[in-house]
Structure formats: C-alpha cells, structure tokens
C-alpha cells in the first residue's frame, strides 16, 4: 500500500461513505489503475470506478529557499455494492 497515504475524513468524504465511496490521499505519481489494482488486491474488494483530482499544492518558503509541501492526489474509489473497506484509525488533520 505504498501509494495510498491516508484515508480522508471531511464532511464530503463522510457523505460519500454512504454511497460506498472511499476517499484516500495518494502520492502524486500514481495512476488510477495502479490504485485500483492495489485496493482490489489489498482489501479484497471490487472497485467500480475511481475518480481523482490533484490537491492544490502549497508553496513554502524559508528565506531564499523555495519549496513546497507534499503534493497529493485524491482518489475517490467507488466499490461494488456489498463490499466495504475497514477504515483505519489513523487520521491526519
């Protein structure tokens, strides 16, 4: 589960849980198919669809040095009805 950083808990993500859609933050380089493959393998579920978007990255600057915070891609994974993922307790806010 290298690519998947953590599950996201926001108002929207909680709402989507009701529709059997799970939200994760994923490292930028991964593609939808890779993630789909991983999730199916890891949790033993059937993925119907994967939607994704890039999170707006934030620049960081300490004096002359320019940098940026970690850029994530957010994946919203829709599971086939009847499947579910036990969400871990880890929460990053």
């Amino acid at each position: 589960m290298d690519g998947i950083k953590y599950a996201v808990f926001t108002e929207k993500s909680l709402r989507l849980l009701g529709k059997n859609q799970y939200t994760f933050n994923v490292e930028s380089g991964f593609t939808k198919t890779e993630i789909k493959h991983w999730v199916e393998l890891f949790f033993g579920v059937k993925v119907v669809a994967v939607n994704s978007h890039r999170l707006p990255g934030k620049g960081r600057r300490i004096g002359p040095i320019l940098g940026h915070t970690m850029h994530y891609r957010r994946m919203i994974i829709t599971l086939q009805p009847g499947y579910s993922i036990p969400l871990l307790d880890r929460e990053k806010n």
Binding site: V8, L14, D89, N93
Partner: protein, 525 residues
C-alpha cells in the same frame, strides 16, 4: 444516600443554569451520524456508542427515567474522620460517566474548528477526539463528572459544611487513569463540617466561676500616689552633692563596666550588655537593678572607683546572664540630691494644669487612675472568662477553620508589623510566603486552637441563650468600620464587614451575659 440519577439530571439542569447548555435539545443530535463514528472510542475504554436514540427519543427516555425514579445513582459512603471532617467515598455509575462524556464532547465540538468540517456542522466523535487528543477529553470528562456529582455527594452535609473546605482526596492523575466509560468511577472527597461544641461539664457554661488576679499597678489609689510622686519629682530641683557619699534617694551618674568571673578566679570576657558610660541611676527607683548592686555603691563619692563581684540571680530578665558571676567596676562621675518642692496649693497648677488646690489634683489623678483600673479589670475579666470558656469546651477543630483563623491572625500581625516598622515590598513578600505562614501556624497551633474554641463557645452560648443585638447597633457599627476603611483608602467588602461586626457584637453580648450570670472573684496580688 441514594439519589436517582435521572431525577438528578433533570434537577441539575434546572438548578444550574450554567450547565443548561449541555442539556439542550441538540445534545444528542450529532451522535446519529455515519456508521463510521461508532467504529472508534476512547483509546483506553473499549466501550462503543453504537445505538444512539434520536434527540426527541433521547429526551423522552430521560423523562421516563426521571418519572420512574429508577436507574443508576451516585453511591456515597460517609465516614467520619478526626478534625471534624467527613470523608465521602463516591461511586459514580457508568451512566452518569457516559452522560458527562457526551457533554464534554459537546463542549469540545463547539469550541474547536476541525479542518474539513464547516463550523456548526456535526463532527464525528472519533474525528473530534483525535483532533483534540484523547487525554484531554478524558481529563475534561473526569472534571465534568466531579462537577456534576460533587454537589449531590455533599448534599447530606450541605448545611453544615464549611466554606471552601472541600478537598478531593483522590489524586487527579489516579482518577484520570482509572476512568473508563464502562466501569464505576470512584473517588474520595473530604469536607470539613461545622465542629460540634462539646461541654465538658454537665451544666455547660452556667455556674461559671472565674478568678481574676489583678496586678498591684492597676490599683487606682496606689497608682495615683505613684503618679503624684512622679509629677512632684519632675518638678524638683537637682543639687550637686559635695560633702558626702551616695545615699538612697540620690541621683548619680556612673560609668559601669563588667566582666565575667570564671571558676578559677581569673577575669573572663566583658559583658557588653551590662556596660554603659554616663549611666543615670535614680536610687529611689531601683527595681530593675541586679540585687546587691546598689548596696555595694552606697557611700561612693564623686570621682571614686569601686570594683565588686555580683552574682546575677537565676530569675534575671536577660537569659544569657542568669546565674553568671561578674566583676563590676563602677566609676562615680557625679552625684545629685533632689530638692523636692513643698506640696501645697501653689504647686497644684504646676502639677496638673487647671487645678487650684492640692486636693483637686489628688482627686483628678485618682479619677484618671480609676478609669485605667476599670478598663484593665474589664479587660482581665473578659480574658479570664474567655479562657475559662476555652477550657470548658472540647472541639475537634477542622483543618480549614484552623488555617483560616491562623492566616487571619498572621495577616493581622503582619499589618501591625508593617505599621510599626515600615517594611519594604521584599520583606513583606518574604514574610507572607507560604512557608513562613505554615511555620507560624505550626508554632501558634495551641493559641489558634484556643481562639477557635472560644469563638465557637461564644457562638454556641449566643444561640443557646437567644441573645439579640439591635439592628441599629449593627448598622452603626458597620458604618463606622466602613468609614475607617475609607479613611485608610483600603478596599473592603461590605458583606464581610457586616459578618465581622456581627461576630464582634455577638461576642460582646455573650460576654455581658456571662458577666451577669457567673461568679467572678477578684484577687489582688
């Protein structure tokens, strides 16, 4: 003591307006959120909130419980302890813990803005706990439980409990660690109650017998004579003695030095406190001299030097000199004798302005001395009665009362000290530190206990005898003391002053009553 929880919940909500917000109709509405929220709980507790009734249903359940009077209740075990304190072992059932836990979460959800959730939106419990920190939630819940259950636990002694004397015996850390939503929550709390006054004798304070010893100095007639003599002496003239040695009645100027004598006869160290140059000695008033000192000096002529040994008596004022043998060397510098004026009417005006005859002077002085005597005797009587009272009662003095009284006494002492010797800020701070106060309390333990005993005894008598003081008197006294406070530009609390004045008036009344109703015997020393 058994109290119905549900009933208590309702009553708390109505009697503590400040806590009402916890019980608003919204209180449970957020809890019926997504199934996700039930997947987590506090890290130490394993309980989960799976089925949550809707707000309306919740309220209904609460009401039903209240109506039936059933449900869990706070279990309190009372144990009496020495020092007039009562120990309560409180057991809080899980249901109340749960309730407090929810109110705490409610508070938190209002206070914090959790990222990803708009303000006012319902945040799932686990998200919130994670955001705030489980330890914080636990600590706050324990606090809420204490706040909720303490009034209930202490309700049995509500009338008798002393103000600010509640001590929670269980350490907060222990409570924090032992807290769990499923288990009964236990803690110990102690409270000081108004001590019971026990009279040692059957007939209590009645038939009180007080013996008062009165010093000779306060005896008016003698005092008047002494006063007259002193005034006459002040008017007298001093003449130099040339043709004879020192006699009793003369005034002499000496240079005195003293050395201790060691056992082998050799001279020892000098005694600085016994040395003086130009010492004025009035041989008529020799009451504070070392015995034998004057006798060795009789007949000394001006310019003469005398050296003689003296043994300090065991009862000498100065402790370091008691029982010391010393060699005194005295040089007589000058010698005077007094020429006292004749006591007749012409002297009256000088003795006491405004008088024309000697008799008048005597009368006036006597009158004044009598006043002094009267107040002195009154004072002595009051003290003696109070002392007697303090011995008659037995009181288990509670710690908080002791502390309070001790601190008050210490404060008064500090104030006095400050007024006398203009302490600067640092000195005052060091004197009013916790340590020095504790030291004082330790040293003055008996004294403070005695005062408390007297106070309580006086209060008891005041009640038992149905004594009254007039409201006018009270108002007047209060006004007086407020004026005094204003004069010194000090802050004051009117309620406090009123309480104090009441105490003072009470004490005065009781003393008056006691004086009338007990046998007082005066002994002159």
């Amino acid at each position: 003591m058994e109290l119905a929880t549900a009933a208590a919940v309702v009553s708390t909500a109505s009697t503590h307006p400040g806590r009402n917000r916890f019980y608003s109709s919204r209180s449970a509405s957020w809890s019926n959120c997504s199934p996700l929220s039930s997947s987590r709980s506090l890290s130490t507790s394993t309980s989960r909130f799976q089925i949550r009734p809707l707000p309306v249903a919740w309220a209904a359940v609460e009401l039903r419980e209240a109506a039936s009077g059933g449900g869990d209740s706070v279990r309190v075990t009372e144990t009496l302890q020495p020092g007039s304190s009562v120990k309560f072992s409180v057991e809080v059932p899980p249901s109340i813990c749960q309730e407090c836990y929810e109110t705490t979460l409610m508070e938190y959800s209002k206070r914090f803005k959790v990222p990803g959730f708009r303000p006012g939106k319902i945040v799932p419990e686990n998200v919130l706990i994670n955001y705030v920190g489980p330890q914080h939630v636990r600590a706050a819940t324990v606090e809420a439980i204490l706040r909720h259950t303490l009034p209930q636990a202490l309700s049995s002694v509500e009338e008798r409990a002393l103000e600010d004397s509640v001590r929670i015996l269980t350490k907060f850390d222990d409570m924090n660690n032992s807290f769990s939503l499923e288990d009964v929550f236990r803690y110990d709390v102690a409270v000081d109650i108004i001590p019971e006054v026990r009279w040692l004798s059957e007939d209590k304070y009645k038939n009180l017998k007080v013996v008062i010893e009165i010093d000779e100095i306060v005896d008016a007639e003698k005092a008047a004579e002494v006063e007259l003599k002193r005034r006459r002496k002040a008017l007298g003239l001093l003449r130099i003695v040339t043709d004879r040695g020192l006699q009793v009645g003369d005034l002499a100027v000496f240079d005195i030095s003293a050395e201790t004598i060691t056992t082998d006869g050799s001279k020892g160290e000098k005694i600085p406190s016994a040395e003086s140059t130009g010492f004025h000695l009035d041989t008529e008033e020799n009451n504070n001299l070392v015995p034998g000192f004057l006798g060795s000096l009789i007949g000394i002529r001006p310019g003469e030097t005398r050296s003689f040994p003296i043994q300090f008596p065991e009862s000498f004022d100065q402790e370091s000199l008691r029982g010391v043998r010393a060699q005194f060397t005295v040089v007589c510098k000058e010698l005077f004798f007094r020429q006292l004026p004749e006591l007749d009417d012409s002297l009256a005006e000088k003795l006491l302005p405004g008088c024309t005859t000697m008799d008048q002077v005597r009368e006036r002085i006597l009158e004044r001395c009598k006043e002094v005597e009267k107040t002195a005797i009154e004072q002595a009587t009051d003290n003696a009665i109070l002392d007697q009272l303090g011995q008659l009662v037995e009181v288990d003095v509670p710690r908080s009362l002791f502390q309070e009284q001790g601190q008050m006494l210490y404060g008064a002492k500090l104030l006095q000290l400050q007024a006398e010797t203009k302490l600067d800020r640092d000195q005052l701070a060091s004197l009013s530190s916790e340590k020095s106060v504790q030291e004082y309390l330790k040293n003055e333990r008996e004294n403070i206990t005695r005062i408390i005993k007297q106070m309580l005894a006086v209060g008891e008598i005041f009640k038992a005898e149905n004594l009254q003081y007039s409201t006018e008197q009270l108002i007047k006294e209060v006004e007086n003391s407020i004026e005094e406070f204003k004069r010194y530009n000090q802050d004051y609390d009117e309620g406090n002053i009123k309480q104090q004045v009441q105490d003072v008036l009470e004490a005065a009344k009781v003393l008056e009553w006691l004086k009338e109703n007990c046998t007082i015997e005066y002994i002159r020393r």
